[in-house]
């Protein structure tokens, strides 16, 4: 059995508990940032407004917070690996070194026994990183794997998404009929996976399985049939011996672009999952790119422990051609099995299943 826990977030809205509470209270997680667009537009983002940390500081802090929730000295054991999930890394170091340099920084700072394993696979990176962690443990290559997801907002990112007309000029509304695009977000998330329950200071959940699939369709537009996501979730279900009926909650990718959310709705319907309570955390956290899969999985675990379904921020009316069961209000209900999905440029899709320890 592979356990996952010690879930940690450091973001513009605070730590994991802060985020959980704010989402439950339906508070907004994004704010209008003056003149951050290429032509001086003011886009809503979830950004650190005061004391903005640099990449390495943020990565360090989230690891240290995670370590407080796990066995002492875990990080420097021979049987421990650090996996980093990021799309752009630390751009202050120049483009060639942007991704390796923070890994080197953390390797030196924490005196790790192994150089960090770095995944850069667009916005599916976070979920893929957790899947990779589980795979390492299942194959007895490591006993413990810390997965860290970090991405920071920059002009590069804002102007890039803007050039694709992907950014909404309002707080984003995943799956909603009025959705117009994404809000960008930044922050760090971390989780610990292990073959042993004892490394966690509080009860973890189980990682049942995960997979990735490519749409084989277009490098930036999602498949109109949701083929990649459909196949990916199917593989994850089969690998975990779980049926759609067993799933209590889905944390979707839900970026709030017209095409992404439509694609996901189609994929979920093809799997007969349209009745399962579903949300996107991005209405609150913004789209945190390489950190998203880790931050949102951390939130899923928190929901499982609290037996609480959190509402999908910004959602009012069905905005996809096929229906989904979007969560509009906080609901207290037993959550045993949870599906997390992610998709990204390059046609990549990833998913994983979590389950409470029986």
């Amino acid at each position: 059995m592979i356990y996952i826990g010690s879930e940690t977030i450091i973001g513009p809205n605070g730590n994991l508990k802060d985020c959980f509470n704010k989402i439950a209270e339906k508070k907004s997680g994004v704010s209008k940032i003056t003149a951050n667009g290429f032509n001086g537009e003011s886009f809503y983002c979830s950004m650190f407004l005061e004391n903005r940390p640099d990449f390495n500081t943020l990565a360090t802090q989230v690891i240290e917070q995670l370590l407080q929730k796990s066995k002492a000295k875990l990080l420097t054991e021979e049987s421990t690996l650090l996996i980093i999930s990021t799309t752009k890394g630390d751009l202050s170091n120049g483009f060639e070194n942007a991704i390796v340099s923070p890994a080197k920084f953390l390797y030196d700072k924490f005196k790790l026994k192994h150089f960090p394993f770095i995944i850069s696979n667009a916005c599916a990176s976070g979920v893929m990183a957790i899947n990779a962690a589980a795979a390492f443990i299942e194959n007895n290559q490591y006993q413990n794997v810390i997965v860290l997801g970090v991405d920071m907002i920059s002009d590069f990112i804002v102007y890039g998404f803007q050039s694709l007309y992907a950014i909404s000029d309002e707080p984003c509304k995943p799956f909603d009929s009025e959705r117009k695009g994404i809000n960008l977000g930044e922050g760090a998330g971390a989780v610990l996976l292990s073959s042993s329950k004892d490394v966690f200071t509080s009860t973890p959940v189980c990682f049942l399985g995960g997979s990735s699939s490519n749409d084989a369709n277009h490098i930036s537009g999602p498949s109109r049939t949701g083929e990649g996501l459909f196949r990916c979730i199917n593989k994850t279900l089969n690998a975990s011996a779980i049926k759609p009926l067993d799933i209590d909650f889905i944390s979707a990718h839900g970026t709030a672009t017209v095409f992404n959310d439509e694609m996901e709705a189609i994929a979920f319907n093809r799997l007969d999952m349209q009745h399962i309570p579903i949300n996107s955390f991005k209405g609150f956290t913004g789209h945190t790119l390489g950190a998203a899969g880790v931050i949102e999985t951390a939130l899923c675990i928190a929901c499982m422990h609290e037996n609480t379904l959190l509402p999908s921020a910004g959602y009012h009316n069905q905005g996809t051609t096929v229906e989904l069961n979007l969560i509009k209000e906080v609901v207290s209900t037993s959550l045993t099995t949870v599906l997390k999905t992610a998709s990204g440029f390059g046609g990549c899709n990833a998913s994983l299943l979590l389950q409470k320890i029986r």
Binding site: S163, S220, G221
Partner: protein
């Protein structure tokens, strides 16, 4: 108008990396998008918006408008004639 169309074809080839094509390959009335013709896609459509701004100072703020404007060289040229500054 003919000069504009020739110029447009050259800009198109540069902006969209159509290294395999010459202006002579691009017929004025042929559809630019879809399986026939140049087989342009949604990213190319966005690049055409950049092209309009860069070379003709026309800002197309709604990508949806692009479908009719960018249908062919003819429609592009007509639009530019009407809207250029």
């Amino acid at each position: 108008m003919d000069n504009l169309k020739e110029e447009l074809k050259k800009h198109l080839i540069t902006q969209l990396n159509l290294e395999n094509n010459t202006p002579a390959d691009i017929k004025d009335e042929a559809p630019l998008f879809g399986d026939s013709g140049l087989g342009l896609d949604s990213i190319d459509a966005l690049e055409l918006i950049v092209l309009l701004d860069k070379h003709y100072h026309i800002k197309l703020t709604n990508p949806e408008e692009g479908k009719s404007v960018f249908y062919s060289i003819n429609t592009m040229a007509e639009y530019i004639e009407k809207n250029k500054k």
